[in-house]
Every structure is written in C-alpha cells, then in structure tokens.
Amino acid sequence: MKEDIRLLKGNEAIAMAAIRCGCDGYFGYPITPQSEIMETLMAEQPWEDTGMVVLQAESEVAAINMVYGGAGCGKKVMTSSSSPGISLKQEGISYIAGAELPCLIVNVVRGGPGLGTIQPSQADYFQAVKGGGHGDYKLIVLAPNSVQEMADFVDLGFELGFKYRNPVMILSDGIIGQMMERVVLPPQKKRLTEAEIEEKYLWATTGKKNNRKQNVITSLELDSESMEANNLRFQEKYQVMQEEEVRYEEYMSDDADYMLVAFGSCARICHKAVELAREQGIKVGLLRPITLFPFPKKQIAELAENKKGFLTVEMNAGQMVEDVRLAVCGKKPVEFFGRLGGIVPTPDEVLEALKTKVVQ
C-alpha cells in the first residue's frame, strides 16, 4: 500500500490520526493554539465516514465530562485544549483517573500563568506529570517533538490508555501544534462494534445484558479500607507503567561528557545545539524523554554514573529539572536553562548555557 504522506500542522495531524485510528468521539472547545484540531475534524466530517462523533462542547468542563461519559462506554474518546482550558479540566481528569477510564487529552501548551500568552510554552509539565487535579493519580504523558509524533501518539495514546485503563495526555506546545512537516498518516482502522467492545471491555456500560452484573463507572468509595485498596491498586499500576512503558531517545550520548535533557520542541532545539557543540569539540549528548510519566529515571540514573553533568532545557522556569534531579540523586550537577513567557530558546542560547553552566 502506498504511504499517505502529507504536509500538515501538528494540530491537523492529530485530527487526521484520530479519524484513522478509529477514534469514536472528539469533544472540544476552541482555544489558540490548538483550534485546528476541532476545525480539521469538522472539515473532514468523519461522522459521514467512520461514524466518529465530533462535538463542540459549551466549555472545556463539559468537554472533559463528555469524554468521561464516552470513555465509560468503552469508546475511544478524546479532547484537546490549551493551558487555561486544561486547568478547567482538572476535576474531570481526576475523575477519569479515579474511575480508571482510558481517554486521550491533548494539551497544546501556551504561556501562563493566567491568560498569559498564546505563544508556545512547556510550563504545564508539573500539571501534567504531578497531577494538576486532586488526589494521587498519574496520567501517562507523551511528549511529541514532531508532527509525525503528533500523529503517531494518538494511536499509541489510545493503546496505552486501554491497556492500563488510564487517561493519557499528549503534552505538546504551540510550536509542534502550529508547524507543518511531512507526516505519514496511518491507514484507516475500523471503529470497534458494540459487540467487540462488550467482548474486550467487560467494564463498559453498554447496557446490562447477557446476565452480567451491572457495570458502574465511579470513582466514589466511602469505605476507607476499600478506598485505600483502590488507591494502592492505582499505585501498582503506575509502578508497572514505570517499569514497562518508559520511552525516550538518546542522541550522541555514548561518548558524551555532558548531557542535555529536554522534551518536545525544546528537544529539537537541543538537537541542533548538540550539533553546534560538537562542531566546537564539546562532547555533549541529548536525552529526550518521550514519556514524561513514566519518566526515564533509571536511564538518567545510569547516565549519571559516567557523565560529568546535566543541563535540563525547558520552556519554563524549571519543572522537569526536578525529576532529573530526583533521578540523578546528587551524583552529578544538574543545571537548568529555560526561557519563559512564550519565548523559544535558540540552539545558540542552549550552547551558551551549556558552556557557562555545565562544562567545566
């Protein structure tokens, strides 16, 4: 079969990939810089074709709760927004995690706090990985660094979501969302039928039939012992993710003295910075966490054994750097370089920071 190659924005790629991976429903609310996701879906009219539902909700709060509803039925459902809208979804996200439902949430991050700016940022790292909502829960967080990954992580996200019955977040930013690149779109998958859902997802609320027990989607448990048991089960699940689902990419790290650590668009910039540094004879490598949770802590801990130092580069005031420090655990210096408020660091700046902060 011929590959379906396109030149697409990251946001468009998400929409196209959603249709093709057999997504059942999208519920969203416009906000820059991600409105193209819903706009592309509306233009593509997948309801005519695959039967996918696309609905503009009255708010982000409504959208995430529509997702909760759809997810409980065993459907592949998703929503997308950008920072302020994602903040509004925190209660709903905590419910989805607490009810152990799979779903996909896309955050095309812009600069905050507050209304902030519509320019790109990575300042929602903490919110995504530490839990912006209440209670002890974790999202699986995927950080794409290209339009291709925007497309690929839709399918991956649903796969992981259903595997663990856990919400998955694609943590992107204005750059990846707005830039166009070559992307190979996946072939069209069929949406699951009701019968298939009933067979695969015994917990789905498809109507109590075939003498099964009623299915209840809930995060409520007033008996403290049972509630603790639930929570411990979640924690075990997160532990399994930590062991089995860590994804990351290394670049020129084998012979490196120093390591850059960066995710998403920042990793692209650091990639170039590595090239520049190598031209100047500085032996630096790059570790790009692809899953922000589970975080590649083991890998970083191992690197800490034989590297001289780390520079974490983020488009924020220093968030992932805490996880890097926790992984390095004092063995080597871990420095930070960041730009804020919608400003994107350039490869030269990164190189400069590397030289002044880390290289001895």
């Binding site: 190659i5 030149l7 820059t32 750059i175 707005q178 830039m179 690149e181 910039i269 170039k272 490869p347």
Partner: protein, 180 residues
Amino acid sequence: MTEELIIAGFGGQGVLSMGKILAYTALMNEKHVSWLPSYGPEMRGGTANVTVILSDEEVSSPVLKRFDTVIALNQPSLTKFEEEVKPGGVLIYDTNGIKNPPSRTDIEIYTIDAAQKASEMGMLKVFNMMVLGAYLEVKPILTLEDVLAGLKKSLPERHHKLLPVNEKALQMGGDMITKL
C-alpha cells in the same frame, strides 16, 4: 543542502501560503521540510511571518534566529529581520512603501517591485507567487515546474484553472528581481 528562510509581511499578503507551497514542493521532491508560522490572535491585518527550512537532512530545530534568506514584504518586517540574515546570506525585499532601506553590506540584497506590479496588473491574489518566483531565481533550489506541479497537486481540481496565472506570476517574479 539546507536552506533556512523566513518570509515576513502583512497578514493579507499570502506569506504563509507562499511558505506552504515552497515547503510542499520541497516535500514532493524528497526534501525534509519544516514550516513554522508566527501566530497571533487572529484578526485581520497585523504582521505575519513564517520560517521555512528545506534540507536534505532531517530538520532539527524548526526555530531559528539566523537565516540564509530573509524575504521582507513591508517596512516593519525589513527592519526586524535585516539583522537576522546570516553573513553572506540573502535579503530580498519588496520596495513598496519602504522608507528605510537595508544598510548591511555583508549580505546579498535583492529588491522586487511586485506589490506595485501586482496591483497594477490586477494580480494581487498571486502577488506571493511573484515573490516566490523571484526567490527561486536567486536560490534555484526548486524549479518552477516543480512548484507548478506542487501547486497542481495541492489545489483542488476546481481551482486548476488558476494554474496559468500562477505560472505567469512565478515567471514575472523571476524577471523582476534586481540585485542591489
């Protein structure tokens, strides 16, 4: 080959779609590309720019501060981006409404008078194709044929009647460019 380019102008000048055609054509010719617009709250008017990278290698950073080529289509863009041309790089600008011409001497500077011409000839809609033609004259990374083929592929059938005027604009642009 790697070409790092920024195109900047007013919102209505077709800056983004010019970059898109360039990127699309390059993609069809097996190049790696990235196209990154500066985006703002969407209202009519205002300035717009797009960073396009065309390369035989994978594109690492889509965000740049130094460019091989800057195409500036109004005064604010010229003022802002002149300094971001790499030494030895290329600056192309449309002379329409330019009061402060560029002053750098370490770069190649070209002018076109496309805005004026397009307006005179009622070809405002393909103004950006003139600029593209001019650019390709200076940097023949892609042929006009490639661009036309790209256009043809990206335009829906019902718009194919517009191909001739686009071709004309591309050619005119190529003829129009002047080295300072």
